[in-house]
Symmetry: C2
Subunit: 393 residues, 2 copies
């Protein structure tokens, strides 16, 4: 039992065991959190204000408008829940899945499985369809499944953080609507980095996280719900068992009535507002272009290093790239050395891809040319003991 596991009841606390946090700086090229621009970090240390302060209510209102811009929606119900992207996922499941609701979940990665797990916990009558990790669903599969058993709720992941695959949405959404269901789209790793376009695509419920392409620290979960789906909430037969994420209660605070629900995470909301301002200043189109061009630079560089990518170009996510581990390489050691020697974080695989891939994120403020060149150089050295532009070392 180390000193940190012992009780500190008897006044034995030794302050030397708890040094000041030293504020180390990492090059974050994993699946999130991504790096955060100093302007956003600075806003985090603004003094606190109350959660019903007129100043804060104005920040909330403007944040909602900026969220509508990044989601590209006019949905009234557009806000953040006071938890991470996983809490936003749970908000979608808790509010739209009642006991017995027929649900279809499309699973082609870790986060699809999580959707199914949550839907079951809320009592949904859950059917799943699966694709191998790294692949995407064709509209026909969804259509055939729904013809056998219609579903009130269909959930799928736009950008699978565990595989790097980008799921085409348009045809699937039309199919779900034709049979009378609503579509829940996980845009955790796409919002702010590639087009989500909620209204144009007809997405009914869409959620994300603050810490990926939006370039804000983790801790807030943006979500938007269209008027048809809002109607479903109003007609629920049972109360949402999850009080903290009950959308009607959260909306009563974000709406013009401002009815107290819980104390909003003030500092995180400051940061989100500043992060969204930076998205708006850059402009969505320019931001998408930056994410895509930088991803291409990475992909080309990786291929020049002789590495293979898991996902074919057509369905490859610009925000998260998955690289197959070359034969004979100790993948965990490469990641450890990237962190220790170059201060770079990338991630390993999750679930069935554990040990088989690296995951490299280029999201938000992390998506910069200098980070890519640095990573490629470091990888070249670690894999081939050769620095860039040199024949040998």
């Amino acid at each position: 039992m180390g000193p940190n596991e012992m009780t500190q009841i008897e006044g034995t606390l030794n302050l030397n065991d708890y040094p000041e946090p030293d504020g180390i700086q990492r090059i974050l090229l994993g699946p999130g959190p991504s790096m955060v621009h100093p302007r956003v970090l600075q806003t985090l240390s603004n003094p606190l204000v109350g959660h019903l302060d007129p100043y804060f209510l104005k920040i909330m209102e403007r944040t909602q408008a900026l969220l509508r811009y990044v989601f590209q929606t006019s949905n009234r119900l557009t806000l953040t829940v006071s938890g991470t992207g996983s809490a936003a996922m749970e908000t979608a499941m808790a509010n739209f899945v009642e006991p017995g609701t027929p649900v279809l979940i499309c699973i082609n990665g870790f986060f699809g499985s999580r959707l199914a797990e949550m839907a079951r916990r809320y009592g949904g009558d859950v059917e799943i369809i699966s694709r191998p990790w790294g692949e995407v669903f064709a509209p026909e599969e969804v259509k055939a499944t729904l013809e056998k058993r219609p579903a009130k709720v269909v959930a799928l992941v736009h950008a699978e953080t565990s595989t790097g695959a980008l799921q085409p949405l348009d045809d699937i959404i039309k199919i779900v609507h034709r049979q009378g269901g609503v579509v829940i789209v996980d845009a955790v790793t796409s919002l702010g980095g590639l087009p989500v376009n909620v209204d144009e695509r007809g997405i009914d419920i869409c959620y994300s996280g603050s810490q990926k392409c939006l370039g804000v620290p983790p801790g807030l979960g943006p979500i938007t719900v269209n008027s048809g789906a809002e109607e479903i909430l109003r007609k629920r037969k049972t109360k949402v068992s999850n009080w903290y994420l009950d959308l009607m209660l959260v909306q009563a605070y974000w709406g013009s009535e401002h009815i107290y629900h819980h104390t909003a995470p003030i500092s995180m909301n400051f940061a989100l507002y500043e992060g969204l301002r930076m998205v708006a200043e850059e402009g969505l189109e320019a931001r998408y272009t930056r994410h895509l061009e930088n991803a291409r630079l990475l992909w080309n560089g990786l291929e020049e290093l002789g590495l293979q990518l898991l996902v074919p170009l057509e369905f490859r996510l610009p925000s998260l790239t998955t690289v197959l581990i070359p034969e004979g390489i100790d993948e965990a050691q490469v990641r450890a050395r990237l962190l220790q020697e170059y201060n770079i974080e990338i991630a390993g695989g999750l679930g069935e891809l554990k040990g088989r891939i690296w995951r490299i994120g280029l999201m938000g403020y992390s998506s910069r040319k200098e980070n890519i060149i640095l990573l490629l150089g470091a990888l070249q050295h670690l894999l081939y003991k050769r620095f860039p532009l040199t024949k040998s070392t």
Copy 2:
């Protein structure tokens, strides 16, 4: 429809509508968030690191040890959930109330009612006992109720933020244990400001929020669970319907295995660590004394202004004081003028005390003599049009 409610789809976003947050500074003397020391604010803007970075895991470990210190416990299961104090409350309810669990909730204020609401949502067989708001429960009431119907879970609020009453716990806890139940204690407005002493009192499950007496921004919910209560979690017949707050999953991330559950709110965890370091530097006893002495200064000053306090001295909370609104005073106007003219936030009443009381918080970094003298002077002027130390104006 104002510009902020319109969709921003067509590229019509006007950046001038979204000015830089101006970082106003308030004297926060409401029920929370309390003010945050510049040292803690500064830590918030440290660069991000990954949620599995060895550096971050060390911060988590030290945070757990410091949480054990403020809770005064040796409980292994001591951590924060990634949401506000209300999420911590929900964690207690979601994990310990299964469908059909006999639950007793003691309601003498707003947050007791919320506990009952949550317990019902999780399917608990909920019995309530009530006291008028501002009063506390006597052990005999709890005993008599449990003799008629035993309960597996008894929940009550240590420090009722809505009334300013401090609930004595020791005898009630013994009674609950004797009939075989566990006690959940809401310490949202007490932890770090007055003794909670989890182990000494035998509290089974205790939770709090970061933004009150701990002096950290809102967004994290500390919780501790003793080994007996942990055993109950392991023996649950049903899965916790709330995935995000499922304690066994959260513990698997905080524990030595560090199994990914959700992306921790990194920046907020930096701030909590620094805030807890400041609690440890001051020392719990000194901190309790400061909170109590400053509260006495406030109480005396309010009484000298001819104001009456809701709660008798014996059960009065040092961290939150409730003041009866004098006859003929527009209470909302006084609060608005305090904010506009003096930059001071205090709060009105909730629920059945709405319009009848003011709530004045002296928590964490807000609990300072200069804030109290300022508030008393401002109140004197607003109520009597007279500045301190002058005969008239």
